[in-house]
Each structure stands twice: as structure tokens, then as C-alpha cells.
Assembly symmetry: C2
Homo-oligomer: 346 residues x 2
């Protein structure tokens, strides 16, 4: 009593004084290092608790040249960002890992421009704003590999990189999901199965296309009905109209994401088709709406939250210098709903 309770937050000095020891002793004791008597350690711990002292993040950062934060740069045209179910779910997974470790997530959002994107990583690195970054939406010949190597910033990639990835990566296995989807359609009796791909340049777009091709060929079918999409509803609808114009038209279409698939269904209905009888449709993602459109969308579900957890765990291990955990993200699952059925003639 008597003394004004100072509004200033307690420093290690205060703890030392209260415990009757030196700053150094406090540091050693509270970091669990050897070199201080048990009784003293107890006294120090008690003092710290009394003052509810917590070491200053900034001081530790300065000393250790670390940020205790991880970075994620989302590089997309705004239009695509809002539509993407991956992003929030992925972040939620990342956070669940970081929170316990006292790490934070620094998020940067840039439009698709490579200049801006490069600058974004540069800022992160130069300011030592983060200790490492998560790489999503891998591209073919991804320029970020070089940037980050140059910037000396650790990274973990989400997805199976096309080639020359100097960082650890975790295989999200999207290929298998699309293969299952195609297999399912073939089993239903479909022979003319088209694919509306994702935006070109992305590794996952290529992987999905490849999976579609491979599975068709594995059943002696020729993959010819392909249109490159852009992951937007607009693009999905346009691609669908184009495909329906081919002679003969496909009886089933596999889209690289749900947004294109749902827009595609609308376009098909508008063209006078009955779904799924005259056209079966499969998407990828399993967005919350997928189960609530009519017909309910058959799709390939990705567990983005789990991927976020896995990626974060890996990156944490990497920057902390711990051994890398085994990287086994949750597999995709094929979800059959009502947008697929055996093909029936008009």
C-alpha cells in the first residue's frame, strides 16, 4: 500500500528486485536453464507470478533477430479472393497451431501483379517481420522460390511443386480426388467426360487436368474435351456453353472448382438440359453451398484446415530448427451428391 501502482508494465528488473536477485538469475531461472538453486528458482517464479511479468516480445525479437511470427501472402485478383473457400479454412488451421506456440500470423494480400507480390515478400524479409512464410497456390516455374532463396527466408510449400522447389512441401494429393471423380463417372457409364480446368499456370490446375487425362486414358478413353477456366463463375458458365456446343456434347463435366461447377450447372439448365440426367457435374472444394444447390453438387472435398495445420507445423519446426515432422495432410474425399447419375439421352 501507499505506493502508487505504476501503470508501467513490469520488467525483468522488477522481478529481480522483488526476488532479491539479479536480472540474469531471473532469465536463467524462468527459461528453465540450469545454474540456479531450486529454492532461488522458486522465489523468482513466485515473484514473476506476483507481478504477472511476461518477457517483452520486442526485446526478445531484437536480441534473437526473430519475429516469432509467420507470414502468408495471398496473391490474387480481388474477384478470386472473395470466392475462395480455401483461404479462410487454411488460415484457421494455421492459427490453431501458432496460437499455442506464441507465434502470430502476418497476412499480406496483393493483387495478382508479380511486382507487387515480390515487393510484399521483400518487405516481410527486410523488416524481419516474419521468420518464415507459407507458400500456397504454387505456380509452374514459381518465381517465389528464387525470391525467397535470395531473401534468405525459410518457407514451406503447400502442394506438390512442379520442380526445383528448394523448400519442404506437403502433398495435398488433389490428383487422387479428381481421379476418383472421373472413375465414378466412368462407372456410371459416361464416356464423354469433359474437364473445365483452373486458371493456367497453377500447379493444382495442371495436376487436376493431368488426373482427368490419366484416368480417362487408364480406361481407354481419349481426353479431348478440355477448356481452360479461370476459377470464376463467369468462366465456368462460358466454358460450359462452349462444351455443350461440341458435337457430340459431353455427358459429364468435371470442373476444377465448385464455383465454376455451380455456374456451369446454371448455364446447362438455361440451355435446356435436365440435370443430372442429361449432364452430370462434378466440382472440387465442397464449398458450403455445394450441398444446398439443386441438384446438390457432387464434389471433391479438400480439408484446407488440416492442410493449414500441417503446413504450420512444418514451418514452425523449420524456423525453430526442430526436425521436420512427417508431412501427411488429410486426403481429399469424394462426396457423391445428386449432380451425377448415369447418362440418359435427351
Amino acid at each position: 500500500m501507499g505506493s502508487t501502482p505504476s501503470r508501467r508494465r513490469p520488467t525483468i528488473e522488477d522481478v529481480a528486485r522483488l526476488a532479491g536477485v539479479s536480472k540474469g538469475a531471473v532469465s536463467i531461472a524462468l527459461n528453465g536453464h540450469a545454474g540456479v538453486a531450486d529454492t532461488t528458482r522458486a522465489r523468482i517464479t513466485e515473484a514473476a507470478r506476483t507481478l504477472s511479468w511476461r518477457p517483452s516480445l520486442h526485446a526478445r525479437a531484437l536480441l534473437a533477430s526473430r519475429s516469432f511470427a509467420l507470414g502468408l501472402v495471398m496473391s490474387r485478383p480481388p474477384e478470386l479472393l472473395a470466392a475462395d473457400p480455401f483461404f479462410p479454412a487454411f488460415i484457421a488451421g494455421v492459427e490453431s497451431v501458432l496460437a499455442n506456440r506464441g507465434l502470430a500470423l502476418v497476412l499480406q494480400v496483393v493483387d495478382g501483379d508479380p511486382q507487387t507480390e515480390a515487393a510484399s515478400y521483400q518487405r516481410l524479409a527486410h523488416d524481419r517481420r516474419v521468420d518464415g512464410v507459407l507458400l500456397t497456390d504454387l505456380r509452374i516455374d514459381d518465381p517465389r522460390f528464387d525470391w525467397l532463396t535470395e531473401l534468405d527466408l525459410p518457407a514451406v510449400a503447400v502442394g506438390r511443386p512442379a520442380a526445383g522447389c528448394p523448400f519442404p512441401w506437403l502433398d495435398t494429393g488433389d490428383r487422387e480426388g479428381v481421379r476418383q471423380a472421373v472413375r465414378h463417372l466412368i462407372a456410371l457409364g459416361h464416356r464423354r467426360i469433359a474437364h473445365v480446368g483452373g486458371a493456367p499456370g497453377y500447379v493444382h490446375s495442371a495436376a487436376r487436368r493431368r488426373a482427368w487425362e490419366d484416368e480417362l486414358r487408364a480406361h481407354g478413353l481419349e481426353p479431348e474435351l478440355f477448356i481452360a477456366g479461370d476459377f470464376t463463375g463467369q468462366g465456368g458458365a462460358a466454358a460450359t456453353r462452349q462444351l455443350l456446343g461440341s458435337k457430340p456434347p459431353p455427358t459429364a463435366i468435371v470442373y476444377a472448382n465448385d464455383l465454376m461447377a455451380i455456374a456451369g450447372m446454371a448455364a446447362a439448365v438455361e440451355a435446356g438440359l435436365t440435370l443430372p440426367d442429361e449432364l452430370s457435374v462434378v466440382g472440387v472444394d465442397d464449398i458450403p453451398l455445394a450441398a444446398h444447390v439443386r441438384p446438390a453438387l457432387t464434389t471433391v472435398r479438400q480439408d484446407a484446415t488440416d492442410w493449414g495445420r500441417a503446413a504450420a507445423r512444418s514451418l514452425v519446426a523449420l524456423v525453430e530448427g526442430e526436425p521436420l515432422p512427417t508431412l501427411t495432410p488429410a486426403p481429399v474425399t469424394f462426396v457423391e451428391r445428386s449432380s451425377t447419375s448415369a447418362p440418359r439421352a435427351h
Copy 2:
């Protein structure tokens, strides 16, 4: 030549040495303060450029007790997170402001649990991880107002708080959008207009409900067909089925978001109704899919990106001690598509 180009990043000391001045002079010169000769300043600037020196963020943070970062805590059940178009768009807007200012965005994601949420803000504050936070999804009797006051963390709220908000806030005017929607339906000839509300407890849920009530009453109609929703597709479909069971059923339904509206349309179609003839539907958000479902969804578009920009600008001003800019976020716009028409009997 001769000396190994050290891998260590240059400090202000290096710049001072190269320019032949003291550290203090460098600081003054490079921060544009008065007290150094023009020629000296030029020499120092040149030296800094040569070494491509950039002040250490960590050192500045330690000294100034600042983070040069802003925080955003998203508190939602995972299910809702993935479906929300607001979140990515809002962040994009925030980022566009922060990037130029050399500030970063620290993102925290927690499930809906208040305990976890409180802990999240606590960590942010105790670690001085951020200089201020953005508050979205305002709740009625929002507990965060007290937490943040207690934690002494500056904040800016997005939306019009119910009451007692100790922080600056910006009015997103969702009320007006819903009123327009209801007015539109009334003009089309609807008299039994129902509302499927958002999750209870949110200020925007209450505001939308209130707008629906007010506009109906303003036209001499009684707001009786109301069901509290939860922003999910599941909830939207269930509410719709319930409403369609009332006698007589509504001829139009205004939903608190697009996800519920689209799921509601599917439920209505499944119940045998023809849309929009037998049921008009309006949503809120204008998600990318809204224009691509059939019938295309009439909705109230919100410019979340602009709100993000506005909120960030305010919070930056607040933490930098600048005068608060006038807060005028982009107004919502009513987007008429094909899911609304004059009511026609079965």
C-alpha cells in the same frame, strides 16, 4: 576490396562510419529532422543508399513500444468462416492501406468460444503484438469493448454499435440496403414478405431485421413472418421450409445473407414452387455465385473492400495520433436480378 562483404545486415553505425558522422546524426538526417547541415544530410543519405540500410523494425519497436502492426481477430465457428465473403474482401481493403504505411496485419482466428476469444485479444495486447485492432461482426452488448478498454488497446469498430462503444466506428449502413430490398418487393406487389434473420446476437442481424420491420410498417404492413437464421445453408433451407408451411405462406423472403437465400431457393424449388413467380427471394452480400445461380439472385451488395480501407485508415490515424478522417464507407447497393418478380398465384 579485400574485405569480405559481411553477410550481416548494415546497422546505423555502419552508415555513420561511412558518412563520417555519428549515429545520432544519421538518425536525425534520415528522419528528416532539423539539426544537420544540408551537405551532411546528403552525404548521409548517400551512405545509407550505398549500404542499402533500412532501420531495424525490432529496434524501433523496442524503443517506441510499438509494433507497427494492426490486428484482426476473426471469431467464428469454422463452418461459418469458409462461407463468408466478407472476410477476404475486407482484409484486402485493409492491406491496401497498411502496405504503404509500412504496417502489417496480424490475423488471429478463433472458434466462437468467448474464452478463447478473450485470450486471443489478451495475447495480442500483452505481447504488444499490435498497436490496435479492427472490430468486425459487432455483437449486442459486445464484450470486446470492455476487454479492450481494460487491455488499453485502441480499436475501430466496423458497423454501427448497439450502444456504449468507446471506440470510433464506421457506419456500414446495412439497414438502408434491406429497406431498399423490401421497398422493391412492395413495389412489385408483395404483401406477405418474410425475413430470415442472421445469427442472433449480432448487431447487423438486428439491424437487418429492424430495417425489414420498419419498411413494412412504413407501408402499413405488419412484420410477422420472421425466423432467426444462422447464416448457414442448412439454416436457410430449414427456415424456408418452415415459412412455406405457414398459412398463408409468404410470397417473398428477404434473407440476411446470400448463402441462406440460395439454399432457401433450393428448398423452395424442392417444395414444388416455381421461382420467382411463386416466391421472390432477396439476399445480402452479393457473393460471386449470386449472379450464377438460377434464378440469378437479387441481393444487397456490400463493398467490404472499401470498408476495410476505411476502417484501416481510421485505425491507423488513431494509433498514429493523427486526426481521425471522416468515416464514409461505400454505401450498399441494391442489385436486382431474376429472383424477384411480381407475385403470381400457383
